[in-house]
């Protein structure tokens, strides 16, 4: 067999396997549907009733229905908004680093990140306008109510948008045209305005989840209370962190995209580095997200126990299993990227032997985290388990175990970073052995402490157990901070064992960056769905009921479908953004044309 045919053979086999699995699944679902539904009864078409302009509560969107339409548009708007808000944050920080240490390459990188912004900003605004119009057209009653509650907050929102545009364009076009301090101040203004915009919009949407500041009849009593409702601050914090993680991952994907298309060594080195920085930003923000998410969930419980149970134990409990798969994948891919990229560091081979242990730790934690609390089991399986809970898995399905698992995953990822950082360095300080020993003991103590608290959680009542997550988090933070501090001093004036060969990273590491970006995006879509879907058949929880045809909560499979479609559309748009951002680096058409003709002439002459 010809060597070149190998991919085809493999693809054929894979396709065969997939085809078989698909056929089986489709047939299974058919037969199940037949059993459950009986013969298919077509619903009679609804009679058309003429609408009256002022009393209409809902209008329908053709084909896909109002809910799906508004869902997709809102999600796309949020994704772009997140990107536009996040990129200036780390662009500014990178620019500042460049300003402090005088290294031009940081400044160039910050500019490159900012380049992605201007097109994305227009996308965000357009999608925002589309969302607004669709809300007014499709959900007039709800929109009216929200406008009534938040009346004047819409003006600062719009005005801030102006300011945002001003800062953004002066920041982007003024690159290198102002004194660095003025330029940094513009960037700071951009960030402050962006954050303020998000805070205002968050007030509207958190009000729908946890309304406050209104009386029994739903009339406004205190606007500040309506704004500062239970979930407002947690969502603000959660979104800032998530935006940075998401923005970083998209920026890293841009780096990967440019790297894969790069033609020169220099470009490859640059974009390899860009991807690395983007990923570093994404993962650093990501490591803090579980804590923020925990706080948010706790506030939701505090606002309404039944909302909390719907979230974690009821309708949406399986959504968190999907979330666990996504986050487990994020941890796997983030570590994978670091391990693979260590191959371009001379001297990092000595850490290769740790990879499998780190991987094993992540895999075990992943398994624990993805273990559902309520199992899907047939009657016989349930009988042999002696109940709905498996004696071993039941232990893993609860929060104590999951908190422990996620904390250990965070520490493991941190260790991967640490090894990467040390890659080609050899400490020269005399106390390096002691330092290593101390770092090792910190890890050992913290990990044992985290596991101890996790196990201890089974023996105390719930209130105490919820409280235990705080020392877990704090000890993990303590480990990361103290080990970093020791490391900084230990590796001061370190001896270089070898080179950092930027640009010589295998393509699969770049695909890992794409994987991270896609997973982050999908995760964002999924969690956006649960935040909104949590209200179930309420527009404003407990205040305004959803009486439209879409008041039901769809299956998770359906939600996964909508999220997938949204992610695809988003990446199509992002491809456009990448392409447009790439245009600035291209040669002028005239020049190009001349070059072409001259080379053509040369060829003719030859």
């Amino acid at each position: 067999m010809d060597r070149r045919k190998l991919p085809f053979t493999i693809i054929t086999i894979v396709v065969l396997v997939l085809l078989g699995i698909t056929v089986q699944n489709v047939m299974n679902s058919w037969s199940l549907e037949r059993e459950l539904m009986g013969p298919n009864i077509e619903a009679a078409p609804d009679a058309v009733t003429p609408e009256t302009p002022h009393t209409t509560e809902y209008r329908t969107f053709p084909k896909i229905g109002s809910r799906v339409a508004i869902w997709i548009v809102a999600q796309l708007h949020l994704m772009f908004a997140a990107f536009v808000l996040a990129v200036p944050m780390f662009a500014l920080i990178i620019e500042y680093i460049g300003y402090r240490n005088g290294d031009k390459k940081y400044d160039k990188l910050a500019y490159e990140f900012t380049k992605l912004l201007s097109v994305s900003f227009s996308f965000t605004a357009t999608l925002g306008a589309m969302l607004t119009f669709m809300l007014m057209i499709l959900y007039p009653k709800l929109t009216n109510y929200l406008i009534g509650i938040f009346s004047w907050t819409f003006f600062p929102y719009v005005l801030l948008f102006f300011a945002e545009a001003g800062f953004l364009y002066s920041y982007y076009y003024g690159w290198g045209k102002f004194s660095p301090k003025v330029h940094l101040a513009l960037g700071l203004g951009l960030n402050i305005v962006g954050t303020a915009i998000m805070f205002i919009a968050n007030a509207w949407l958190t009000f729908m989840n946890s309304p406050a500041g209104i009386n029994e009849a739903g009339q406004l009593v205190s606007m500040w209370d309506a704004i500062n409702n239970f979930t407002w601050m947690p969502i603000n914090i959660h979104r800032i962190l998530a935006n940075v993680a998401f923005g970083g991952s998209i920026a890293a994907a841009y780096g990967a995209f440019k790297f894969l298309g790069a033609t020169t060594e220099e470009e490859r080195a640059h974009y390899d580095w860009m991807g690395y920085i983007g990923n570093f930003v994404a993962i650093s923000a990501f490591l803090t997200l579980p804590f923020a998410g925990y706080w948010l969930a706790k506030e939701i419980y505090a606002y309404s126990q039944s909302l909390g149970i719907v979230l974690m134990g009821g309708t949406f409990s399986w959504l968190f299993i999907i979330q666990a798969v996504l986050i487990g994948n994020l941890f796997l891919a983030a570590n994978y990227y670091l391990w693979v990229s260590m191959e371009r560091i001379d001297g990092a081979e000595r850490f290769k032997k740790f990879t499998k242990y780190l991987l094993a730790a992540i895999a075990v934690c992943f398994l624990v985290w993805a273990t559902p609390h309520s199992l899907v089991a047939s009657v016989e399986e349930a009988r042999s388990m002696g109940g709905s809970h498996h004696p071993m898995l039941g232990v893993l399905g609860v929060m104590s175990a999951k908190n422990t698992a996620v904390n250990i995953m965070i520490l493991t990822t941190y260790i991967s970073f640490l090894l990467y950082r040390r890659g080609n360095k050899e400490p020269t300080v005399s106390w390096s052995r002691t330092g290593n020993l101390i770092q090792f003991s910190i890890f050992a103590v913290v990990i044992s402490f985290v596991i101890f608290l996790g196990v201890y959680g089974y023996f105390v009542d719930t209130a105490t157990r919820v409280g235990l997550s705080v020392p877990q988090v704090l000890s993990v933070l303590f480990a990361m901070v103290s080990v970093t501090a020791i490391d900084v001093f230990m590796y001061k004036n370190a001896k270089f064992k070898g080179e950092m060969r930027w640009g010589q990273i295998p393509a699969r590491a770049q695909y890992a960056l794409f994987f991270l970006a896609i997973t982050f995006t999908w995760l964002m879509g999924l969690m956006g769905y649960v935040r909104a879907g949590l209200r179930q058949h309420w527009h404003v929880y407990g205040v305004m009921r959803d009486t439209s045809v879409d008041a039901f909560t769809p299956t998770l499979g359906f939600a996964a479908g909508v999220v997938s479609v949204t992610v695809m559309i988003f990446f199509t748009f992002i491809a456009i953004v990448f392409w447009l951002a790439g245009l600035t680096g291209k040669k002028d058409w005239e020049e190009d044309k001349q070059l072409e003709t001259s080379s053509g002439l040369l060829a003719e002459e030859a």
Binding site: T49, I322, F514, I518, A551, F552
Partner: protein, 271 residues
């Protein structure tokens, strides 16, 4: 260009993978709790839907009336009433005629039947005006097209729904028993509408005046809890269970009350 295709395929594959994960978890749709309340802006379809519920439930209409059954009836069959209502009485519109039949049932008696229907806006059914409008809509939908709306007017008034607190949910469960004796319960649950206890003349259902002789206590229990288990000769199945379900009997009767009721029936030994 190759890397663009690679990234494209990779993006689709990754997304499809997560889509697949989404299909692997239990799939369930959650519907909001049914809460049909009567308001002034109901569409005709909604009126028909609510009216149907009242006819089969709280209105207890189907205790006596049938819909679309031929044969000898004790009360008129309602099948096709939407068609015939307009032409029953000269000069009376369909809505007017149906309203009269509900508020003042004995004003016009269909040929071949005897008077006997109680006014529906009075106790025990206590339907309010809006509920009766929905019933009219439902009746008109039987064999015809409803032209009644929530703002239709006719010359009858009973209970104004606005006087009752807010919009009344359709399926209001009967209140808990307030320490009635067997005879009181017999009336409370409207057993007397269909089963006489004082004479041997059957109403809709067989007379129970000698039930204590014919049946053991266990039989009586069974006849209430599962009326179709044994049917008296000549009586159709399904009527009593539908009626009792319609009144929410099984959900509201307490074991104690049920025992009282059975004891009461068992005490009827015919004399």
């Amino acid at each position: 260009m190759r890397h663009v295709i690679g990234i494209f395929v990779f993006t689709i594959l990754t997304t499809m993978f997560y889509y697949y994960v989404g299909q692997m978890v239990p799939q369930k749709e959650t519907y909001p709790p049914e809460e049909l309340t009567i308001s002034k802006d109901l569409t005709t379809d909604q009126m028909v839907e609510i009216g149907e519920q009242i006819v089969g439930g709280k209105g207890t209409c189907l205790t006596c009336h049938t819909i679309g059954e031929s044969g000898a009836h004790r009360f008129p069959d309602l099948g096709g009433i939407g068609n015939t209502a307009a032409s029953r009485v000269q000069g009376q519109s369909a809505v007017e005629y149906l309203a009269e039949s509900i508020y003042d049932p004995n004003a016009y008696i269909v040929d071949g039947y005897v008077a006997g229907m109680p006014a529906m806006h009075r106790a025990p059914t206590n339907l309010n005006d809006d509920e009766i409008l929905t019933i009219i809509a439902y009746l008109q939908s039987l064999g015809g097209t409803p032209d009644v709306t929530m703002s239709s007017s006719h010359s009858f008034t009973g209970q104004n729904p606005a006087a009752a607190a807010g919009a009344a949910p359709v399926a209001a469960a009967p209140s808990m028993s307030e320490n009635l004796d067997g005879a009181g319960l017999y009336e409370k649950y409207l057993c007397n509408t269909c089963h006489s206890v004082d004479t041997d003349a059957p109403l809709i259902g067989p007379s129970l005046y000698d039930a204590g002789n014919r049946m053991s206590t266990a039989d009586i229990y069974e006849s209430i809890v599962d009326p179709d288990a044994k049917l008296a000769d000549g009586y159709p199945g399904g009527v009593m269970i539908a009626t009792l379900n319609g009144m929410n009997f099984y959900d509201s009767v307490s074991p104690k009350d049920l025992k009282k009721l059975v004891d009461y029936i068992a005490s009827k030994k015919g004399n």
